[in-house]
Amino acid sequence: METFLVVAGLIFLLVVFMYNTLISKKNQVDTIYAGLDAVLKKRHDLLPNLVATVQEYMVHERITLEKITELRTKAATHSLGSRETIALEKQLSSMLGTLMVAVENYPMLKANENFLNLQATLSEVEEQISAARRAYNQSVNDYNNAIEMFPTNFMAGLMHLERKEVFSIPEHERSNVDVKNLFQK
């Protein structure tokens, strides 16, 4: 009887430990996602000013500017899930990269002080987004490992926990949004 109680106690402790580990990893992902969301919002706040400043110079980039405005509006007004947000932000990063490459063709814009200020702030926000994305990806990786590894995978199945998607950015797009380097040329 005593052996049974000891074994039952150990199993109970193991279950509690696994449950708490999974919950803490899930909460860690949510906390860091909130941080990522905050810096993404910072970028959204910059975009109207950026578009307003560049549109009078960049007459041939109207489609890109419209797309940026559309994506920004969608991100700001719709309550999107993490998966949709990640997809949308990837698109937005790509569009901003295209826009910043195009700036090279507008020397007048590169001399505009207001634009230079915006560009410098955007560069800093991009650094913060990069940091938040790396933190988010690490927490998602820890979480995904926990829900797929033995024995926590059984507990994760019972708790209906699902894999989360990392916030990856393709290499070519990542280099495109490195606006700081672009403007130091």
Partner: protein, 322 residues
């Protein structure tokens, strides 16, 4: 801001060589005094050994040990006394001049050091200490970045198995402080990864449960992760500080220096500690000052230290720090 070896050679022969002649004379005089003292002490020690061993109080072994110890202690006293004046002159005529050659705006104070508050602020070494000493403080700006560094020695008292008290090093070496190129509010500490290297997974687990250091931050740079363990308050800001580019530079710097490296980022400042087993800017009596090679080593060390600013690109400030 990278003085060339050829320009140092010119500087050495044009600006330093004449004054070094006098100092070299003093060095040779000290060496001569020490040689004479050694000879005299060996003779006196031998006489003492024979006198003591002929008495019934000491055995031959005890008489020998007593003679050697007495001779050694007296020699060390003479050595320290002779070296003190020479060391001070050496710093005035060699170290200070090299510092001004590296960057004329830097201010050198041979008897000063980084204060205890700054040391504690860095949170690099959490152990309680009993003795704090330092020297050779250098302050100034390199490429618009405020820096300070010195040769620091922090020790604690430990009790040996025999119950005796002795001094044990907590840190000894270069302690460097500079303004960081980003503004941040949290704290990040980067330490050599001893536990994981020696204990593997168990080491990683132990690092994770270190309550005094904050949360363990796992970073996405394989070479950096192998060398260092990182603790931080905020997972996002830790990665904002330790960008991929900075981690790459830290790894390169570590490979180049090949010494235990400790880093922390606190209150928008970078604190760096490099462990050295010998004093950084003390003269070597056995080496001639009139040989360029003996001066070159000090210059290379000072150039390495001041180049930390450009190596870590601390001068490339982000918008909010300009």
């Amino acid at each position: 801001m990278k003085p060339r070896l050829s320009s140092l050679l010119d500087y050495y022969y044009e600006s330093m060589y004449p004054s070094l002649h006098a100092l070299e004379g003093k060095r040779l005089a000290i060496l001569s005094t020490l040689k004479k003292a050694a000879l005299l002490l060996v003779t006196l020690g031998t006489v003492l050994f024979f006198v003591l061993s002929r008495t019934n109080v000491f055995t031959s072994l005890h008489a020998f040990l007593l003679s050697v110890m007495s001779g050694f202690l007296i020699f060390m006293f003479i050595y320290r006394h002779e070296r003190a004046g020479y060391g001070s002159l050496f710093k005035d005529l060699v170290i200070e001049k090299i510092i001004h050659f590296v960057d004329p705006s830097l201010i050198y104070t041979k008897m000063d050091s980084i204060d205890e508050r700054t040391y504690r602020q860095s949170e690099l070494f959490m152990e309680a200490y009993d003795r704090f000493s330092g020297k050779d403080l250098v302050c100034g700006e390199i490429e618009g970045v405020k820096i300070r560094f010195c040769d620091l020695h922090v020790e604690k008292k430990v009790r040996t198995k025999n119950g005796k008290e002795e001094w044990s090093d907590i840190f000894s070496g270069l302690f460097f402080v500079a303004d960081f190129n980003k503004t941040f509010h949290s704290k990040v500490v980067v330490l050599p990864d001893v536990a994981e290297r020696n204990l593997g997974i168990v080491g990683t687990w132990l690092q994770g449960v270190n309550p005094s250091r904050g949360a363990l931050i796992k970073l996405d740079h394989v070479a950096f992760e192998k060398l260092f363990v990182v603790y931080g308050d905020d997972p996002i800001e830790s990665r904002y500080i330790l960008s991929h580019a900075l981690m790459e530079r830290i790894v390169d710097f570590h490979h180049k220096i090949d010494k235990p490296l400790y880093l922390s980022f606190v209150d928008s400042k970078l604190f760096l500690a490099l462990h050295y087993t010998k004093p950084l800017f003390e003269p070597i009596l056995a080496r001639s000052l009139l040989e360029f090679e003996s001066i070159k080593a000090y210059c290379e060390l000072l150039v390495m230290i001041t180049n930390i600013v450009t190596e870590f690109k601390l001068n490339e400030k982000l918008w909010s720090k300009r």
